[in-house]
Subunit: 204 residues, 2 copies
Amino acid sequence: MPAERNGSGALPLTLLAEQFAKLPGIGMKTAQRLAYFVMGYTDEEAEAFANAIIHAHKTVHACKICQNLTDKELCPICEDPERDRSTVCVVESPKDVSAFERTREYRGVYHVLHGLISPIDGITPDKLRITELLKRVADGGISEIIMATNPTPEGEATAMYCSKLLKPLGIKVTRLAFGLPVGAILEYADEVTLYKALENRNEI
Amino acid sequence: MPAERNGSGALPLTLLAEQFAKLPGIGMKTAQRLAYFVMGYTDEEAEAFANAIIHAHKTVHACKICQNLTDKELCPICEDPERDRSTVCVVESPKDVSAFERTREYRGVYHVLHGLISPIDGITPDKLRITELLKRVADGGISEIIMATNPTPEGEATAMYCSKLLKPLGIKVTRLAFGLPVGAILEYADEVTLYKALENRNEI
């Protein structure tokens, strides 16, 4: 805590900087810069910031059905009568839901796992919302589950794990297609992506 | 506000993300990541964060003498009886005070301008704490003023401006030595470079 020792002195400022430094990707130097920046706020601005934290934390929770974050009992997607409830897209985090929604093409619903299986980080399957997914399937009406986790070792493992639990229930389990990203330069594509693109080639 | 439109839905979460996005160097994507991260806090952690903002903002203000940020009437440096009050090091921001204190060599006091003259950004000399500096000089007891602003055009202009006001008052005005690489940010300079720059200061 150099600010305390060296006499720039303001302990409350150090405490605020420490709060910023707890956030992912923010080191102590950036945290101090942010704390100084907040000092330049008006009283109203500082209160708005503090209230946004408290309010969001109090009102936002997981949707009862899909586990996406929402401030209502059900999220807008689960409540939308026009969404196709027979197709469930399983993703790692709420950010992935936003990403799929931006395509404006997917009309099914989602299931947010809130993480990926990663034993090395202590994230075992029971830490994820897999039980909730199995319960949704048991409740009936679902014909296809799309495993839309990242193409990383953890994402693959999670997709495999879920698929092994879901297939015996007579559910069609699919995985996102892997290939070249649109607009990619072939020369710079990595070997695995190129191999996947070749393997999953389609007739035109 | 894509989160609202696309149905990931949580308006309070969007509001919190917008608060983070107001901070310097944090874009909307990072802000959303930070907002999601805060959702994982316990109630106590979220409250501690909010309180740190309010508390720091309420209690931290400018020291009556040197204008550095403090939660007391005077900052610890101005209160320290062992500091040499005849030498005043003029800096842009509280972060620069911390940087000089880290050298553990400077025994004088400081004056924080809270900015640099930059007409293009609308920062005219009256927006800085220059009047307070002149008042300190008028109160007597100061024999040397070290202009320790960044070696950037704005820092140089500010140093020149202050020196022109101070010299007629019979004060010795010095400038940090150009051991500092031109264009560098003072806050990130290493201790030895900073100390050298301090040691080789020149009269201007």
